[in-house]
């Protein structure tokens, strides 16, 4: 066996009195794609930053990291500057902010070449053009003189990759490189990274929370939990016969299917939307010109029956959130009608009397509560919609009942929101939606920000509540997997239109529309036979 490209021995990182990484050892072979998996706080990013020598100020580092046999931790800062960018390239999660906004993309790619190889500026620009071409940004279409804000997220991530591989480093570290991207964009970036490894003998250390991504790309995986590597194995082995219980929980959670019961009979329609058009006023093109109108939703029609769970899938900017806002009366549609039970509204904002039957749960468990109010007041807020809202003790009872329905306790009503974890906050958000007994809850990316194990618990809770409260859901998400696990029917949205619509199993199993096919194909998947083995082996 060839000597390892990167060998991490007994790495430990201590930040602010907390052991972020404990005794981590792993070894990456030349030309290997090595996956590091784990939930947030598992120490996977800190491991990468420790190798790069870019830990936050005040962090303590122990152990060793050898790149082609040379101990990186023995190098001084000046020597490490010579390693970073030349022998190890690194790309990060957030492409929107990872590039300097005031310098052109050409200059930023060329910079790597100039500082390390002393290449002349004109030569560096030529190589930069070639590298950008390699990552799928041909200079003819995406000139070197573009600024980052003129590119999309996926394109910016390609620029990041171009500058990381400009000097053909021995190792590329990618920290959640596709987490912030849409699924079709993600597929392109993953393809690109796989191709780059095949180009030469570069190794790739791919850090992600998404096991499916690793199943497709990596040949070996280390699973991290609370700063420790709990299991390292070849990819297929890991999926087929993992040894550590945490790996098992992670795998189970990522393909979690909540228990669902069929709804009896053919229920009455609850919400119907007909030929809805929603527009946004854009910025004025000139000082005195009329503002341009952007149509975010174009002629959407659908129905949700009582107690039904319907998914709405689409990539960022497709209009799915705008549609939700119009249904909730936050935005007046330009045309079309919205009917809820007996009441209907055509071509105007949905009135408060209709809204009491609908509530919403948002994505961000941290931003969706006023930090200055107690939980009781936060959960009671939707009572504002009722003319005869309960007061005093009755109000408190209703809040407590809602909290208990989502697995919280009466004592939690007196606390402030910062005292809760992300998963608990999402439960409280569901309690807030539940408190006025709505018939429909819109879940707008409601589990997207949660770690897989927490996500599985919330999905179970939603399935339970649906049965116990007779709720209908409109489940909005970019994540096909989650939608598949919890909905009866699914709608696929693109550019403001619903392009495909049908029972979830049919749409996901045999997509009819090109775009749905593209979405389903782009979604990274753990080969089903691997998990069948796992189930059989249990």
């Amino acid at each position: 066996m060839s000597p390892p490209r990167l060998a991490i021995d007994n790495l430990s990182v201590r930040i602010g009195g907390i052991d972020a990484v404990r005794d981590v050892s792993l070894s990456i072979a030349p030309g290997q794609i090595f996956g590091v998996a784990g939930e947030s706080g598992s120490g996977k990013s800190m491991t990468a930053l420790a190798v790069m020598g870019l830990l936050p100020d005040g962090a303590l580092r122990g152990g060793a990291a050898r790149l082609d046999g040379e101990d990186l931790f023995a190098l001084d800062e000046a020597a490490m500057c010579g390693v970073r960018g030349r022998r190890i390239g690194m790309i990060f999660q957030e492409p929107m902010t990872a590039l300097n906004p005031v310098r052109t993309i050409g200059a930023q790619v060329a910079e790597t070449l100039v500082i390390h190889a002393g290449t002349s500026l004109s030569e560096a620009r030529e190589i930069a053009a070639a590298k950008l071409d390699r990552v799928g940004l041909p200079a003819a279409r995406y000139g070197l003189d573009r600024y980052p804000h003129e590119l999309s997220g996926g394109q910016r991530q390609r620029v990041m990759i171009a500058q990381a591989i400009a000097l053909q480093p021995a190792l590329l570290i990618a920290d959640e490189p596709t987490t912030a991207l849409d699924v079709t964009t993600q597929a392109g970036i993953l393809d690109l990274m796989g191709g780059l490894v095949e180009d030469g003998d570069m190794s790739l250390m791919l850090i992600t929370h998404d096991l499916a991504v690793l199943a497709e790309l990596s040949s070996r995986i280390a699973v991290m939990q609370q700063g420790l590597v709990v299991e390292t194995a070849d990819t297929e082995t890991l999926f087929r016969s993992h040894r550590h219980a945490y790996t098992g929980r992670l795998l189970a959670a990522s393909s979690h299917q909540p228990q669902r019961h069929e709804q009896p009979g053919s229920p009455a329609p609850l919400l119907s939307v007909e030929d809805l058009h929603i527009g946004y006023r854009g910025r004025r093109s000139s000082l005195f010109g009329a503002p341009e109108m952007t149509e975010a939703v174009r002629g959407v029609s659908f129905t949700i029956s009582e107690g039904e769970s319907v998914g709405l899938v689409g990539e960022s900017g497709c209009g799915k959130s705008t549609l939700a806002r119009a249904i909730l009366g936050l935005q007046a549609p330009r045309a079309g009608s919205i009917r809820l039970g007996e009441q209907a509204v055509t071509g105007g904002a949905v009135p408060a009397s209709m809204r009491a039957a609908m509530q919403i749960v948002f994505q961000d468990p941290y931003g969706s509560f006023n930090p200055r109010h107690r939980v009781e007041r936060l959960v009671a807020e939707p009572f504002h919609l009722l003319a005869d809202a309960p007061q005093g003790a009755a109000r408190k009872d209703a809040v407590v009942a809602a909290l208990e329905a989502v697995g919280m306790t009466a004592a939690d009503a007196d606390k402030y929101i910062h005292e809760f974890s992300g998963g608990q906050r999402q439960r409280i958000a569901i309690a807030r939606a539940l408190v006025i007994r709505p018939k429909l809850i819109i879940l707008d990316e409601a589990v997207s920000a949660l770690d897989v194990s927490i996500r599985a618990q919330i999905l179970d809770l939603l399935a339970e509540l649906r049965d116990s409260h007779g709720l209908a859901y409109l489940f909005i998400s970019h994540d096909l997997g989650v939608v598949t696990s919890i909905t009866d029917r699914v709608m696929v949205m693109k550019n403001g239109e619903i392009v495909e619509h049908g029972p979830t199993a049919d749409v996901m199993g045999a997509p009819a529309h090109d775009y749905t096919r593209e979405l389903v194909a782009a979604r990274p998947q753990i080969p089903p036979e691997w998990s069948q083995d796992r189930k059989a082996g249990r």
């Binding site: 969706s368 930090p371 919609l385």
Partner: protein, 274 residues
């Protein structure tokens, strides 16, 4: 909260408290009456009788400084009050109407007032109505308004993008109710910090205006006027210039340290990390 107060906050509050206390005390008692002129006892050095000496009319410097503190602090506080009373509602309104006509109008109005420094406003008012301490208050108050409007709008816009505002809207709450119930409490600390900063700027501005004769008029003692009066005697009685200057510096320093300390103490981002 049992968190330790930052050192800057403690020092700042202490300095500020000294001068506020001196100003309040001057309402009921000063070592000597500031109206009593005693030419025979002019320009005396510090003594047991006059702790900080006397000025060119034989008035007790300590008493003058105490009454001067009252003038400065009163002018600055009222001017902050005017700025907040006008600026905060305008800022809330602009943020609620983000991108709309009202927002545009408020922001353009802001830019316009920014083009009139407090001194220029004072010049205009004085040219027309004659000089007085009231003019100084008005000029500084007008000058404060766009500052508070801008800070309020900026803070409010950041809060408006939070999902809990959407949640409140889903609950059927209107713009006014959301502004008062959700926005204002979340930008209160921002406004308190800005208030202390404008307070200290007000003290400086009042001193400047009184120095050039556009603010407090004789016989009302004010730090700026004391400096103006001392100027011709600076070569042989420097204490007349040094003492009011140090009083201004200490008060402004106290307020600025308080503002900085409050910012560190109240900033929830910093608090969460603790």
């Amino acid at each position: 909260m049992t968190a330790r107060l930052p050192l800057t906050l403690v020092v700042g509050l202490a300095l500020t408290a000294v001068f506020v206390a001196a100003a309040l005390l001057s309402l009921v008692w000063t070592p000597h009456a500031v109206e009593s002129l005693n030419i025979a006892a002019r320009l005396q050095p510090a003594s047991a009788e006059h702790l900080l000496g006397t000025d060119h009319f034989g008035r007790d410097m300590l008493s003058m400084l105490m009454v001067g503190a009252r003038t400065s602090i009163a002018v600055a506080i009222v001017a902050v009050g005017i700025g907040m009373a006008l600026g905060v509602p305008l800022g809330l309104l602009a943020a609620a109407n983000h991108g709309g006509v009202i927002d545009d109008l408020v922001m353009r109005g802001n830019d316009l007032v920014f083009a009139f420094p407090a001194l220029v406003i004072a010049i205009l008012i004085t040219a027309v109505f004659g000089p007085s301490a009231f003019n100084a208050i008005l000029a500084i108050g007008i000058f404060n308004t766009p500052v508070f409007a801008r800070v309020t709008r900026g803070g409010a816009l950041a809060v408006w993008t939070q999902e809990f505002i959407l949640a409140a809207r889903v609950s059927g709450k209107g713009v006014v109710r959301i502004s008062l119930e959700h926005i204002l409490p979340n930008i209160a600390s921002l406004l308190i910090v800005q208030g202390t900063i404008q307070f200290s700027l007000g003290i400086l501005a009042e001193a400047g205006l009184s120095y050039v004769g556009l603010g407090a008029q004789p016989p009302l003692p004010s730090w700026g006027r004391m400096l103006a009066d001392s100027q011709t005697m600076i070569s042989f009685a420097p204490h007349l210039a040094v003492l009011p200057g140090l009083a201004i510096i200490a008060t402004v320093l106290g307020l600025n340290l308080t503002g900085d300390g409050l910012r560190d103490h109240l900033d929830p981002r910093l608090r969460r990390r603790r």
